[in-house]
């Protein structure tokens, strides 16, 4: 393994291909557009879950405030779309035409200054990345430079999620309050509510998710990826090997924040609204469970975990609403007590050896040199964890 450090092992490549096939071929064929749109909505949470794998699973930083970044991305997108649908003609019946309807309802007579730049799509797209990154940087720098970590970090990020939710709900004239920013229609004149648009947005979302997976894979396969694990397990040793640990943590926290924000923006586009119910404490900690169910060490697992939990949530809360909270609560306890490595852990211990055999058998037929190295990165640590 020391000489062969390629970007992806065979197993990992296979994993990415399977996810891509599922997203781009199987699901669009198997579902009508209503279900596919719902599936696309679930996938936007997967962005958050993948970020959490890097941040929590690999580097040991548990953020209970990822909804904040999901919300920041989503609100940036929603502000642009809202402004586009609030032309003076479309809002002629308001006492102040040309501003979003909820502002008019709250007796606001001019567009607030921080809404102005969101008239520009370029600015909006930049803001979706930059705003959460800067916000994460400020939180990260303040906390990690002072060595705040572990449960303290978790509690403080949770408090920040609470603060932002209260702020959004309280300032309804500027934010749309508890209803959020609704009734979003067009993007540069293109109606995002039609079936065609939903198909296109679904594919864009899928492509972005695969992009995020590949980006994460690059990070995990670099020395930085191994440093993340090192920081999680022996923070002091990393520091006394000449690394500035806080910079590593700030980086991975910002990285995860940007992923979440992209997910949030895609959520707004596909679902057509954004509200504080995706920002606060409860959604933020649910996003952690998506990641945990998939396996906190596996970026692909995070995608499957997100899909599975959300599918279960929709199914159960439709048929047995009382049971769902019991189920979700039980899930939290089970992934901690019974299977801490989630779906990917189960895959690694039961299915992976099988797949490995099939893959390497195929390989022996085509090329007879060098045996394949055991896979690492996506879930190799699971074996070590299990051995402890």
């Amino acid at each position: 393994m020391t000489s062969n450090k390629s970007f992806m092992s065979r197993q990992e490549l296979l994993g990415i291909l399977v996810v891509s096939a599922l997203l781009f071929i199987v699901m669009p064929l198997a579902m009508d557009i209503f279900r596919l749109n719902l599936f696309g909505k679930y996938l936007t949470y997967a962005f958050v879950a993948v970020g959490l794998v890097l941040c929590w699973g690999k580097c040991g930083i548990l953020s209970l405030g990822q909804g904040v970044f999901f919300g920041l991305g989503g609100y940036c997108m929603a502000m642009y779309l809202k402004l586009e649908s609030s032309t003076p003609e479309a809002t002629a019946i308001q006492s102040t035409p040309g501003i979003p309807d909820f502002m008019d309802w709250n007796q606001i007579t001019a567009l607030p200054w921080f809404w102005e730049p969101f008239n520009s799509l370029t600015f909006t797209l930049l803001a979706i990345i930059v705003v959460p990154a800067v916000f994460a940087f400020i939180i990260g720098a303040a906390m990690f430079k002072r060595r705040v970590g572990g449960v303290y970090f978790a509690i403080i990020t949770q408090a920040i999620a609470a603060i932002l939710t209260i702020l959004i709900i309280g300032q309804q004239g500027y934010t749309g309050g508890v209803n959020g920013i609704t009734d979003l229609r067009t993007l540069k004149g293109w109606d995002i509510r039609t079936d065609d648009a939903k198909y296109i947005l679904y594919y864009v979302n899928g492509a972005l998710l695969v992009g995020v997976l590949l980006l994460s894979q690059i990070v995990l396969k670099s020395k930085l990826g191994r440093l993340l694990v090192a920081v999680r397990d022996q923070e002091d040793r990393v520091r006394f090997s000449g690394y500035d640990v806080s910079n590593i943590k700030i980086f991975v926290f910002c990285f995860a924040a940007v992923f979440s924000a992209i997910g949030g923006a895609m959520f707004t586009l596909q679902v057509g609204f954004m509200s504080p119910s995706f920002v606060g404490i409860v959604p933020s900690i649910e996003m952690v469970i998506f990641c945990a169910v998939g396996g906190r060490l596996s970026i692909l697992g995070a995608v499957y975990g997100t899909l599975l939990v959300n599918w279960a949530k929709t199914t159960f809360s439709e048929t047995f609403p009382e049971l769902w909270l019991f189920g979700l609560g039980g899930l939290f306890i089970a992934v901690v007590l019974v299977f801490p490595n989630g779906l990917s852990g189960l895959y690694q211990s039961y299915l992976a050896p099988l797949v490995d055999r099939v893959v390497s058998a195929g390989k022996r037929n085509s090329r007879t040199d060098a045996a394949p190295p055991p896979s690492s990165g996506f879930g190799a640590e699971t074996t070590a964890k299990a051995a402890e």
């Binding site: 020391t2 670099s222 022996q234 040793r237 006394f240 090997s241 000449g242 640990v245 070590a384």
Partner: protein, 251 residues
């Protein structure tokens, strides 16, 4: 504080160093000097402040007062990773290695290149790295185990791995906290040999309880007691010092 600005020929000079934890002085007005190429051992009863002195030098604990100069550079105001980059390496009492990674990866992460976030992202495992890792692994008796996961090593092998992780950084001052604690007799002998080899061209500070081991390696010994120096000099001189005998055997 007229001594603070004076440059010295010593590699490391600690002057008037004091640290107090809520009034309790763990290290009290300490003066200590380490020469180039010297193996300096610190001994003393439990709670004498030995580990605290190492913590202070490497920046893990902040001093209340006094100065620590390494090649005439003040360390007390530097952050840990900056001190490491100046050339001070520190081994902890319990082996602190990355258990989830292989021996090779452990050594590679300690290789002094690509230490910024961007540097780590673009780090290439080139020929230089591989040669150096193999060289160090050979030195610390782990060249057969490079692909093994570090968690699976024996206790003694973990200690050696950590020493290897320090050696690959080629520090000018190496600080070892109880390097042979928990080792078998043969591992202990091997470690003494290892230390004698790696001290060529660098200074080493060792905190140790094992007197036989100290006798084997020490050029100079400092005995700490309640944060102060009780005695200093060669092992023979220290062992004959009535103050030392009193502290270890008396009460």
């Amino acid at each position: 504080m007229n001594t603070l600005n004076n440059n010295t020929d010593f590699l490391l000079s600690i002057e008037n160093l004091t640290v107090s934890f809520d009034g309790f002085k763990a290290v009290d007005d300490l003066n200590l000097y380490v020469d180039e190429n010297e193996i300096h051992v610190i001994i003393g009863p439990n709670g004498a402040g030995k580990t605290t002195v190492l913590d202070l030098i490497c920046g893990r604990t902040r001093s209340t007062d006094g100065s620590i100069k390494f090649r005439n550079k003040e360390l007390t105001s530097m952050r840990e990773h900056e001190i490491v980059r100046e050339g001070v390496g520190r081994k902890f009492q319990n082996p602190s290695i990355y258990e989830d990674l292989t021996v090779f990866e452990n050594l590679e992460l300690s290789f002094p290149r690509g230490r910024s976030v961007w540097g780590a992202l673009t780090f290439q495992r080139d020929q230089d790295v591989k040669i150096r890792v193999h060289e160090i692994a050979e030195m610390v008796f782990l060249n057969e185990l490079l692909d093994k996961q570090a968690a699976l090593l024996s206790h003694g092998q973990k200690q050696w791995l950590e020493i290897g992780m320090l050696l690959i950084q080629d520090p000018e001052l190496l600080m070892l906290d109880e390097p042979v604690a928990g080792m078998s007799v043969s591992e202990r002998k091997q470690t003494a040999k290892l230390l004698n080899e790696i001290t060529k061209g660098r200074s080493v500070m060792v905190v140790e309880h094992d007197m036989k081991f100290v006798e084997d390696i020490a050029h100079r010994v400092t005995v700490l007691h309640q944060g102060k120096i009780l005695s200093e000099g060669s092992m023979a001189k220290v062992q004959a010092d009535p103050n030392v005998i009193d502290v270890y055997l008396g009460h």
